[in-house]
Subunit: 367 residues, 2 copies
């Protein structure tokens, strides 16, 4: 819900209102906007809220009306008589295609939803949607496994962030929405990101990438990350991330649970975040046990996302560390065979995390 | 030890004895042979023992003197005054290069030794020897894991079976020697048989083979097998084995523990061979636990060999089922990372075996 006097600039706009179409890139305050909206259906407006300087700098925002039709709502708390759902580029997206510079990418709202555009090349979109439909209705998924996956709310036709017009978006749980300043690791699991059903060009492309990253050697690769510290987020460039070695991975797993960023991590949060019955290792082991048995899906090119919010931790909130699976555009039928590729990579990653936890204990004992 | 009156025919022969060199393809009885041997050093003689018709048909035998020099031995039990070690082509070899038709391959003796020629292309020989040296002296290998590996007795210079002259051979435990009519499965574990250190040509070759067999899809492939039944061994051609599908693999795992060979296996031995605390599944789980932890070696293109001797079983002998690891020509340094490729494939194979065991129990309940 967004109301008030924020000024907005229309960047791209298509509506049935001649008044609005004639004023692209104009400035409006939000009350004016609401007034205009009463005349609109299914409008998507990309705007810059100049009153929020940080957001203005970082994100390109858009707002739209829920359910493809404008609904007039009134409540005592609302200073404006109209309901508006704000969409913006995810602030904490660390990997994958981003909705910036006119590109197609996911958007989020302020209600904990993540809108992922369905990709139409390589049948990825269909594949991911098929997976979510299958998974959502699959009664063989244990409850404790389901919580590793973002909640699926269906699809919604939204104007794509690349200006290409209306496009179906998966409506998913925004798994970062409960975190203020989350440190995040996005780890693509498996020593092979291609699959037999894929095109030859796709296989060759993945084959090359797998060999030149840590995918083949470690059974996983870090795709993106951000680590929060007092001075803000450390979010290395993609090119740097792509060249990570095994030693870099170890360093990052140490930094992830340290209050300092540097060559000598203090492991402040290692025991709480990686260890213990609510820790990341325990979650990963739960996943591992499931992957040793399930033969329904093969999760090619899928990521494990680790989230850890230092501020939540310091305030004693739980869960302060989460493990989620994301990116199912390359999930294929398991055909009665376990996902040995994912499982092997997951076990390798578990070993890395275990070693960092052991190092942290050694480090504490030395202190 | 081979003595007595067996007649032998020299097929190829090179020695320092002009008397012998002048008589290729001649017939001698073993006493005569022993007499000639007193004049020889490091002789290898390929012979056909015409007195043993089955062996004559199946194998090409050779005999040689231990330690590259002839030693005169005498004991009350020996009818001949001379010690002879007989070498022959392994009767139960189900995969890999075979010492037939003038090709280079392994030989065995009657004392439980397996002589594997060191391959000199692609540095395979050096790699396998390095592995055996490293593994033999590695104090971090638990005892219960060491027994999965053939015992290594060093190397010996022997005349190669392809007639190329003297060549170093690994002297290993012949793991089939305790079995009379072993049913054997040779399963190459891992969804990738190549490794980053290999040549591009080798990688491309493996990449193609992995995609066109079950290696990529199942995380392992059956490389060879023989299954014993009343009418003898069923030992399918390599071309047939190479085209096995997932369903073929399931069928073979069923046939392996059945007394009949056909579309409706009786699972007679399933519970004893796959199940129980001495069963194959338990052994595989032990291996799995080790692979989840060990970061010393990556066992590329290595096989798990399952051996099961129905006759031993029927006579109540144990162990009647064995699990061994073989073929270490492509073992590379683990560099502190677990062998996620082997582990994933092993877990997939474990799942297959578990499912056959479960099927067998369902089948028994239906009966």
């Amino acid at each position: 819900m967004r109301t008030g006097k924020a000024c907005v600039r229309f960047k791209t706009f298509q509506s049935r209102s001649p008044a609005l179409n004639s004023k692209p890139n104009s400035m409006f305050n939000l009350d004016s906007l609401c007034f205009f909206k009463t005349n609109l259906q299914s409008a998507i407006i990309i705007l810059h809220p100049v009153s929020t300087k940080m957001i203005f700098k970082k994100n390109l925002l858009c707002c739209f009306y829920g359910n493809n039709s404008f609904k007039k709502q009134r409540s005592p708390e609302q200073s404006s008589p109209y309901s508006i759902t704000m969409l913006k580029v995810p602030e904490h997206q660390v990997a994958g295609r981003q909705a910036i510079d006119g590109k197609l990418g996911p958007l989020i709202d302020n209600s904990g939803h993540f809108y992922k555009p369905l990709q139409d090349d390589d049948e990825r979109g269909t594949r991911e949607l098929t997976f979510y439909h299958s998974f959502s209705s699959n009664t063989r998924i244990p409850h404790h496994i389901r919580r590793f996956f973002p909640v699926f709310h269906g699809t919604q036709l939204l104007k794509a962030s690349d200006g290409s017009g209306l496009r179906p978006h998966l409506v998913l749980q925004d798994i970062t929405s409960d975190h203020l300043n989350p440190s995040i690791l996005d780890i693509k699991i498996g020593s092979r990101t291609w699959y037999l059903e894929a095109s030859n060009a796709y296989i060759q492309n993945c084959f090359h990438r797998d060999k030149t990253t840590t995918t083949v050697s470690l059974g996983f690769r870090i795709c993106g990350l951000q680590i929060y510290n007092e001075s803000g987020f450390w979010k290395p460039e993609r090119k740097l991330v792509r060249n990570f070695t095994a030693d870099d991975v170890r360093s990052i797993l140490r930094m992830f649970v340290s209050s300092n960023v540097g060559p000598e991590p203090d492991f402040s949060f290692a025991d709480s975040v990686y260890g213990g019955c609510d820790g990341i290792l325990e979650r990963l082991m739960e996943l591992k046990t499931w992957f040793e048995d399930q033969t329904m899906y093969h999760f090619c090119s899928c990521s494990v996302l680790l989230l850890f919010d230092k501020e939540s931790f310091l305030k004693g909130k739980t869960p302060f560390a989460e493990v989620k699976l994301i990116d199912f555009a390359h999930v294929v039928d398991g055909n009665g065979v376990i996902d040995h590729n994912f499982l092997g990579g997951l076990c390798s990653f578990i070993k890395f995390v275990s070693q960092v936890l052991a190092d942290s204990k050694g480090s504490t004992m030395e202190d």
